[in-house]
């Protein structure tokens, strides 16, 4: 699924040379690590890179992941996606429903609206759409990164990820859909 300014959660300018798409799960500890890495990496890259976050909750192993994703989407409806995204990763061990509601209050959302939208599961289809787009693009676990459309298969520590982004920047790859594992049948 191509990155869409209208649909996606994006940090950074549309003119950026590198687009880093993360498929993430709020309850996944590795995504928590990646969150810390991105917080250091993205400011270093300035306007030359942008970050896109898409939902990939693994509900079978992370029972709170889907609701947390819905909370972030509910915050998005009030223009505060990244605030909720950040708080969820900073407090990954407290993702019960009452925690989510208290975070909504903390970041200044209309809590009644947030709660209503969360519990009527208003954003679940969008989350499943993200998930399906990830599966189809070759997401293989969380977090999975795509750098200008190519899946990043290496580790995601600060150095490796910086190098991968630099390489994409230097090679001037056009953003394009991931082409991996085509069936031979």
């Amino acid at each position: 699924m191509p990155v869409s300014d209208r649909r996606d959660h994006i940090q950074g300018p549309a003119t950026a040379a590198v687009t880093l798409v993360e498929y993430g799960d709020y309850q996944c500890p590795y995504c928590g690590e990646a969150y810390g890495v991105l917080k250091k990496l993205m400011p270093k890259l300035g306007d030359s890179a942008r970050l896109v976050f898409r939902n990939f909750p693994l509900t079978q192993i992370h029972p709170h992941a889907e609701h947390a994703a819905e909370a972030a989407e509910a915050a998005n409806a009030q223009g505060k996606f990244w605030k909720m995204h950040d708080i969820l990763y900073e407090r990954q061990t407290a993702l019960e429903d009452e925690d989510l509601v208290s975070y909504a209050g903390e970041i200044g959302l209309d809590v009644a609206r947030f709660q209503a939208e969360l519990f009527e599961r208003k954003f679940i289809d969008r989350i499943r759409e993200d998930f399906q787009s990830g599966v189809r693009s070759g997401v293989n676990g969380t977090p999975t990164f795509f750098i200008n459309g190519r899946r990043h298969d290496g580790p995601f520590d600060l150095q490796t990820l910086s190098e991968a982004v630099m390489m994409a920047m230097n090679s001037g790859q056009e953003a394009r859909p991931h082409k991996h594992h085509r069936p031979q049948a």
Binding site: L58, T59, Q60, I61, V135, R136, S137, G138, V139, N140, G141, T142, R151, D153, H178, H180, H181, R182, P183, Q184, A185
Partner: protein
């Protein structure tokens, strides 16, 4: 020593691994398939080149090949026979080891998208050389809702039949096969070491089976 003979389609893993005298060689839809007569290195060789740099010099069974049958334990007292799934697609996911990080991610992903596989009525089966007690503990811990088969004794016999056993480490390679309802392999893929292949290839292969089915009915 290589001997030419007719191809046998329904092969029993246990039989193969114990075989001493009989070798099976032939051509299946243009792909040469041979079996070496060495009880410790029984494996089907395919002349089709493996683009993924297979560790043991052979390669995964290729599309168009009849999937060799096998029977393996899924739990200490339950066996799973491949032929039992005839009539619906089967996804065989060979993986190196229970509990390893990459395998964990791969199987967790498949577990999550079982509903997508179900849309094609496809049965997912995981296979590694781990024993049944290990599989049971692992499946419970990760809440896996599909069978994990133990290619445990003789070790790796089924992986060898499919051309995806890595002799150098004594584990299955990370290999995927999509088998159609008639028991023919329609897609195979071996992932580079340490790289989780994801599920996109499987889904595309299942989709193309469906399209073929539609065409056949048209």
């Amino acid at each position: 020593m290589w001997v030419k003979n007719i191809v046998r389609f329904n092969v029993n893993a246990r039989y193969y691994a114990n075989c001493r005298a009989e070798l099976v060689v032939g051509t299946i839809r243009g792909i040469e398939v041979r079996m070496k007569n060495n009880p410790t290195h029984n494996r089907i060789k395919s002349s089709a080149k493996n683009a993924n740099g297979d560790k043991n010099g052979s390669g995964p069974l290729q599309p168009g090949t009849v999937a060799p049958n096998f029977e393996l334990n899924s739990t200490p007292d339950q066996k799973v026979d491949l032929i039992h799934f005839r009539g619906r697609p089967v996804i065989l996911a060979f993986y190196p080891a229970d509990w390893s990080p990459v395998c964990g991610d791969q199987l967790a992903l498949y577990n999550e998208i079982l509903p997508d596989f179900n849309k094609y009525a496809a049965q997912l089966i995981g296979i590694s050389v781990d024993g049944t007690w290990c599989h049971t503990a692992y499946a419970q811990n990760r809440q896996l809702h599909f069978p994990l088969l133990a290619d445990f004794e003789p070790k790796g016999a089924v992986a060898r039949m499919y051309g995806v056993y890595d002799d150098s480490v004594g584990e299955c390679e990370r290999a995927l096969f999509v088998i159609d309802k008639d028991g023919i392999i329609r897609w195979s893929y071996v992932s580079p070491a340490g790289v989780n292949p994801g599920a996109d290839g499987i889904l595309r292969a299942l989709e193309s089976l469906d399209k073929k089915k539609e065409l056949a009915h048209a």
